[in-house]
Symmetry: D2
């Protein structure tokens, strides 16, 4: 923690700050300049992080020095984490492709959609049974029944299932049908849900919140790891900015930053980042070139008739085209596919 004193701070004020630091069993390092005094505190920054030192008389501002995340940090675990789900090794050298529709649309439908994903080359199948919708009047998903349809799709295709969990009360139920639990953008800071999936025995895909900083994103992952579940996959999916020509703003730049700061694997979702089918493939390639371990893609055999997110879904030919491009770009960046 860095504590910058005001230019006109009195010695008495400075002494009170030092006393406060000592009372926390921390050691202040005092640097007196010609104009200002600065106090550096190193050691267990957690102890001091939430102390409102900034409002003590004489203090101008304070600045944390250490990052608040621990278990997710690369310092704590220098090797990349690799998570095995079915045949996929998420975070390994081979790129991973999860594909499927936004929503489970029925049993017959979801089996057909899973077959399409498999045929095109996906290694994971994604579809939502519980749907977080901005409007209470929109389709809210098939719920528990949708989960059973997903299990049927898995039996038919063998593809492991990625599906969203929205409610702390649904953890056991979703775990029965899903191979990977997805925590959505709107729940990235639903800390009670993070704790519950942290106690589950399934890998978790954690989507980045719409305006979450990278540090907040990592701290949400930290919640899951701190409960004992170390199989967390970080999922950038676009952020909210002033630009509204696309649904979100592609956040490909976070990929090298996350890989630098953390050991967790990174799957990215270009479908939500762009929100417009014709831009999804270019965005997906950008994520991959930036270092992602794979993609989550919304795909539907007839996007025009999709129950939700049709406007950003690839059809079968779009998916095959993307797979072809991934196959070409992978070796150029030292990956397999």
């Amino acid at each position: 923690m860095l504590i910058v004193l005001k230019q006109d701070a009195t010695q008495k004020e400075i002494d009170r700050v030092i006393e406060k630091i000592n009372s926390l069993d921390l050691t202040p390092h005092i640097s007196k300049g010609t104009q200002r005094t600065i106090i550096t505190v190193i050691g267990d920054e957690d102890k001091i992080r939430e102390q409102p030192l900034v409002i003590m008389p004489g203090v101008d501002y304070v600045q944390p020095i250490m990052q608040p995340y621990k278990l997710v940090s690369r310092a704590a675990h220098p090797e990349n984490t690799v998570i095995k789900v079915g045949d996929a090794l998420i975070g390994g050298n081979k790129l991973v492709l999860a594909a499927g529709p936004c929503s489970v649309e029925g049993e017959k439908e979801v089996i057909e959609h899973a077959k399409m994903a498999k045929k095109a080359g996906a290694t994971l199948f994604r579809a939502g049974a519980f749907k977080p919708r901005t409007s209470p009047y929109s389709f809210q998903g098939f719920g528990a029944k949708g989960l059973e349809y997903l299990s049927a799709a898995k039996r038919e295709t063998g593809l492991p299932i990625v599906t969203e969990i929205m409610d702390v009360r649904d953890v056991d139920l979703v775990c029965k049908h899903a191979d990977i639990l997805q925590v959505g953008t709107r729940n990235m800071s639903n800390f009670n849900l993070l704790k519950e999936v942290g106690r589950a025995k399934k890998p978790v895909i954690l989507k980045r919140g719409m305006s979450a900083t990278i540090v907040e994103f990592l701290m949400s992952a930290e919640y899951i790891l701190s409960e004992g579940n170390h199989e967390v996959i970080l999922c950038p999916r676009g952020i909210r900015t002033f630009e509204d020509i696309t649904r979100n703003t592609l956040d490909a730049g976070v990929v090298p930053v996350i890989r630098d700061l953390s050991h967790l694997p990174v799957l990215c979702d270009p479908s939500h980042a762009m929100g417009i089918t014709k831009y999804v493939t270019a965005a997906g390639l950008a994520y991959i070139a930036a270092g992602a371990d794979g993609l989550l893609i919304e795909a539907h055999p007839e996007p025009e008739n999709a129950t939700s997110d049709g406007q950003q879904s690839l059809d079968y030919y779009g998916l095959v085209n993307l797979v072809g491009k991934l196959a070409k770009i992978a070796p150029a960046i030292g990956r397999d596919f």
Copy 2:
């Protein structure tokens, strides 16, 4: 819904769009210009809102015309909604002040804090028993025990209690102790929680999400109303922008917009908007001058020793000073206090 066709759209493509609209039992109005054809669909826009018309061949883009909110709109309820809680009429002519610490810090403490709030002139007491914290290693609140302390504080002071609910499983418990349920920023899009508080028999303060648009904010309120609970109070509390000199960016400009679009009362939280004690009072006055019905203020007798948010809390004298300013500004803008 406005459907703008591409300049080179063929008649066959246009016909297919018209057919699709007809198939939804809606009436297309076709405007042919020299360069483009435009189709306007008016009527039940919900039916068409989620149809991915944009990906039909020949379509350039689509644009909704009607807003998706209904019950919260001023069109649906031209009079201001006024919510009675204890002696406070939230949304009436008299400004409302809710004050209290960020966290419940113990039984004795919270009683003392409530007394301070009352003495300074607050009509509601706010404090958190359940705390959503960015870090799993931070103090997470006293939980159920904290709720009991709040009830004790109410018994001592008579001030109605505002406290946060974070978990769908806690609704009954929180309702036993709280007079107003607060749904926090991070849960503004936790739709299952919104549905649960929509079924509760208590007024709800809904805080704006960090990067929620006004329309999304209103849609989250719509979730609550659509479940039968019409006592919703909207709470702007700053938004996230590029500016980082303050904790958030004060969103005083939303107040006249919300009052124009909706009949719901508006209480604002300048403490979180600014995040720095010395700026809170000016920010609170700005919210009030913009038309807010009152304020939520973090206040603590000794901010330096607060368990959380001390850096943005007013002390007793700060609170009394704010009350004095509210008393002066209220008649100048045609309100009481």
Copy 3:
């Protein structure tokens, strides 16, 4: 400057950083913690600010400690700066109102518009002869002729003239007709223009850039002061954020921050901040309640027929209504009007 070393930094790497600091004639203060070494440099931070210390081996990150602005800071000039223009004392206790149309629309018109502004109670008249327009096909202003019309309006009404300068080549010309030079949002970082107006002998209204941080805003003012012109008025006018229901996002929260950091007066522009007539008055009151010294308002006798910005202009009755509200709120916040 704070220099945080990596956990695994070697002594040799640390020594090289220390050597570098010594070579700049600065004194490093070294704090060794159990996990990390931190070096604090205090003194002339300008010397080190642009040194890319962050890329030296062993360095994790660097953090400036001192703010880069000097002349504009309150530390440099503890008293508020007050600027006299005509009868107005900008930054004094009395609130200032500048009003007028977006564009000069002709000689007869601008005289009429100035009369309207005066009659409603404005003390300064604002109108643009040079217009920065997003589209090259939009009306670009009357230019030099417009300046002459402004002088005519001043002769008729006695109101001092505020008008925009867009081009370094126009300084002499604009100074002949204007009492206050306005540097627009899009030119806040046009440093050559800032230098030129810094050499002019006229007060300058500096509008905040659309996404300028407060520090950048102050640094742009610093450019003007550093050339010798200390009569700078800071003008918040809304910022760009994710919210698009209004033209910009009202930045009322910057007012107390700027007043804390700087001695310069603050006039605010709620017309551009909101972009919609019906919200302008509430926004103006919010700026004033937050501590602004006055307002810049777009006003036109017939907004429907205004050449530009009619959608955010008050008409005469709107302006009179605003003046009435300012007259009431001023004493409530300890100001005159």
Copy 4:
């Protein structure tokens, strides 16, 4: 233009809007729904774009239908524009690499830097003689002398020169030495400068403003084309968002959007987008994978000793490494290098 009337609009109000549209020689198309009337105007939208119809009684809101750009649009020029500079064909199939230091640091230095860029494989050399700096106390560039040094560097290496122009008065001078004029981020909306470079006989690299929307970016290019200069290269370079862990937020997602909307070539600047050397290469590959025609890279033989931007500059080995990666990725995405 779409004009949505209020639910309670009277026939008289509707008639007045229709009259206004007719008075502009445009044809209104009226669609009456059960709840609302909507008027669509198609034809020359420029005529109506700036009419403040929104404030006419009975009007709820208006919405433009057509984009305001013309010459830059792909509709106006379906083929990609290719610009020849030296041996480089910017916008052709072969990727282009411009590299060099942030600032011209002296004659000897800039020649050395150009040699380094050439040796590493760059086809254009970039360096700034005029430097827009946030602080008036920072190094402001070598100015006119710096331009001469750039000419010397060109004589030595044959590499065409890209350099920034900041001032309308410098156009002739900069044109004497530069092969491509660069308009910087801070001047993207300096419309007088855009007009001047629009009259110059040199290609222009136009950098995206920090918070410019894609439409505004294209409109700034439109300014240049509208003056007769059709050789404009669009340069995304990161945007400003809430995320501050990197200097800017990488805007790779704009590349497919710009390529869809416009025929102009796109060179991207990952150095400014990220602001941290170790992330530049991944960001550059992301831009390329998204469809960019090439990159602008800050490179310096000794970044630690660079006069400016050392913290985001690649050294020689970094540049060679990037070139190697571009050579591999180019064929994978159907390009040459």
